[in-house]
């Protein structure tokens, strides 16, 4: 479903700030795979996600989605196939527009936008049913402006909007990091539920190791622009946080201590 082939990206090339963000990344996700990505800040996780979404283009290498080479597709064209939830709850929704209008925009993601009424009776019913599943009572506030919602509510809405049209790929960029633990758990459970419902192919970045272990069937660890560890289905189930730390030390020959706080366990 998703294939990254020899992806390279260098920032600030030929300056003292030169940074190799991605170094020969190869990655294949099969349909229905749910992969979690961990690694310290600057490891290249977000850069990789931005490569997939199209907000960044690779210096070298190809990206393939659903069998199509999309390397040269601009972001808006790719996002027909990609649902995305950002870390910042403000980023995924339009604050001055209503809940139903936001959903209507997500609804026309994979259709051509034309001069027809965006919210009609039929669609409103679809939106209401979808919102009911969130259990946040949003279905009774269809005409409330999204700016009035709390961070958790907005993130739940973003998640719904991202998965609304069953995209080929779902990208989650630390989408629970800005929430308090209780809300984060709600969103985590919701993620599980929505991904399982449509068997979405998902790539999720997280700084929360427990979350990385709980969710998904595959796990990768990144460091300095490389994928240093890949754990597959059965092995992943047996994985624990201390094992993961040991693994990092074995590969890199250095302790992960400085990252303990970041990886929050």
């Amino acid at each position: 479903m998703l294939k990254l082939n020899q992806i390279n990206k260098v920032f600030n090339e030929a300056t003292p700030d030169e940074k190799i963000a991605l170094d020969q990344i190869n990655l294949t996700l099969n349909t229905g795979d749910f992969m979690t990505v961990i690694g310290s800040n600057g490891a290249g996780k977000s850069t990789m996600l931005n490569m997939v979404s199209g907000s960044l283009t690779p210096d070298f290498g190809e990206i393939e989605i659903a069998g199509k080479d999309v390397t040269k597709y601009p972001e808006f064209k790719r996002s027909q196939m990609i649902g995305r939830v950002f870390q910042d709850p403000m980023a995924g929704t339009a604050p001055s527009m209503t809940i139903e209008e936001n959903l209507a925009m997500a609804y026309s993601r994979n259709k051509k936008r034309i001069l027809r009424k965006a919210v009609d009776k039929k669609r409103r019913e679809i939106f209401r049913l979808a919102l009911e599943k969130l259990n946040l009572n949003l279905e009774n506030r269809l005409n409330a402006k999204v700016g009035m919602l709390s961070g958790g509510e907005r993130q739940a809405l973003s998640l719904l909007m991202a998965t609304f049209t069953q995209p080929s790929i779902l990208l989650l960029d630390e989408h629970t990091a800005a929430l308090d633990p209780a809300r984060a758990e709600i969103i985590t459970n919701l993620t599980k539920q929505l991904v399982e419902k449509d068997q979405l192919t998902t790539l999720m970045i997280t700084h929360n190791m427990q979350q990385a272990l709980d969710l998904g069937n595959r796990l990768i660890m990144m460091d300095k622009g490389q994928i240093i560890l890949e754990v597959e289905a059965e092995d992943k189930k047996k994985l624990t946080i201390p094992k993961l730390m040991d693994e990092f030390q074995r590969i890199r020959g250095e302790k992960l201590t400085s990252d303990k706080a970041l990886l929050s366990f």
Binding site: F76, R78, Q80, F86, A91, A94, S96, M97, R113, L115
Partner: protein
């Protein structure tokens, strides 16, 4: 007094169409578009030129709308494809249009290339066409007789202009309301609200900016075409400061009538344009002030419209809090006495 206010209302409605255009760019797209000063004159110039050549005023007005749309699209192209800063793209288009407008109006002159003004004194305009139909109905005398009963003097010669303008502006308001609720309209609003988000929902924000600015400037040019026919001339200088007038209308309207829904906001913008004209008209009747003071009056009106609402909102908030606080206190007292 009455006829002065009447004239202000007539003009205000014409400018309201321009203000709706400014609302689309400034508020909906969040794009400070200065093309307006140029495209307003383009609309007036195209309409006046075609009317002078003998085309039907309806056709002339339609042509003005189309050219205005193209001008707006150009600004959008400069900004999105040329990556030029929004303000600069608008200014560049504005000064380029100055020359283009001279050339357009120059088409009517045999011995020069450019022409700074075109009089339409005896030409057929939308208003004269409509008036010839309207005057057969005898409505003017009926209405004037009615007002004379209340002892009003100096009544307007015709109510037809006001009538037709009201109809046109209501239709445009409904079109704008409808457009902003369509799938494309929603995407345009989201472009002004959260570009990153709507791009991740597979919308080409570049095209949306271009279309939005095109629509905005089409309305501005339409307003220019109507003003030229109303005032019976087109002049190269008639667009100066137009953007501020549009902005003033938007700000005044929003301050007084609120922005709860789209339909309410567009109505507020129209009302804002009319109120602005009335205030300006009344201010100019003060003996001390001269027509040359128009700009400083405009500046004062805009400053008041920006500052006064903050003051009133603060006061309202304070009163509300005082009242609620008193309620809560008395409630507590009751509970205590019960206990």
């Amino acid at each position: 007094m009455f006829s002065a206010v009447f004239g202000s209302v007539e003009q205000g409605i014409i400018y309201a169409i321009m203000a709706l255009g400014v609302y689309l760019s400034f508020r909906v797209l969040d794009f400070p578009d200065l093309t307006v000063d140029g495209s307003f004159v383009t609309g007036a110039g195209v309409a006046a030129t075609m009317i002078t050549f003998g085309y039907h005023p309806l056709l002339a007005t339609a042509a003005a709308i189309v050219i205005g749309f193209l001008a707006g699209c150009m600004t959008g192209l400069l900004h999105t494809k040329g990556k030029i800063n929004a303000l600069l793209a608008g200014i560049l288009m504005m000064i380029a249009l100055y020359s283009i407008n001279l050339r357009i109006m120059g088409l009517t002159s045999e011995n020069s290339i450019g022409r700074p003004n075109i009089p339409l004194l005896n030409a057929e305009t939308l208003y004269s066409k409509f008036y010839s139909f309207w005057s057969t109905l005898g409505i003017d005398t009926t209405i004037n007789n009615f007002f004379e009963m209340f002892g009003l003097q100096y009544l307007p010669s015709t109510w037809g202009t006001l009538f037709i303008m009201t109809i046109i502006v209501i239709i445009i308001k409904l079109v704008v309301d409808w457009f902003l609720k369509t799938e494309i309209g929603l995407a345009i609003r989201a472009t002004g609200d959260n570009k990153k988000m709507i791009r991740s929902l597979s919308a080409n924000t570049d095209n949306l900016v271009i279309i939005g600015l095109g629509f905005s400037n089409a309305l501005v040019a339409f307003s220019g075409a109507l003003l030229a026919q109303y005032a019976k001339f087109a002049d190269i200088g008639m667009g100066i400061g137009m953007i501020i007038i549009g902005l003033a209308s938007v700000i005044i309207g929003e301050a007084i009538f609120g922005t709860k829904t789209i339909m309410r906001t567009t109505l507020a913008v129209i009302a804002g344009a009319i109120i602005y004209r009335i205030v300006l008209g009344l201010a100019l009747r003060i003996d001390f002030l001269d027509t040359g003071d128009m700009k400083i009056i405009t500046a004062t009106i805009v400053i008041c419209a920006l500052i006064l609402p903050q003051y009133f909102e603060k006061k309202r908030e304070k009163n509300r809090k005082l009242k609620r606080h008193a309620e809560r206190l008395s409630l507590k007292k009751e509970e205590n006495s019960v206990a």
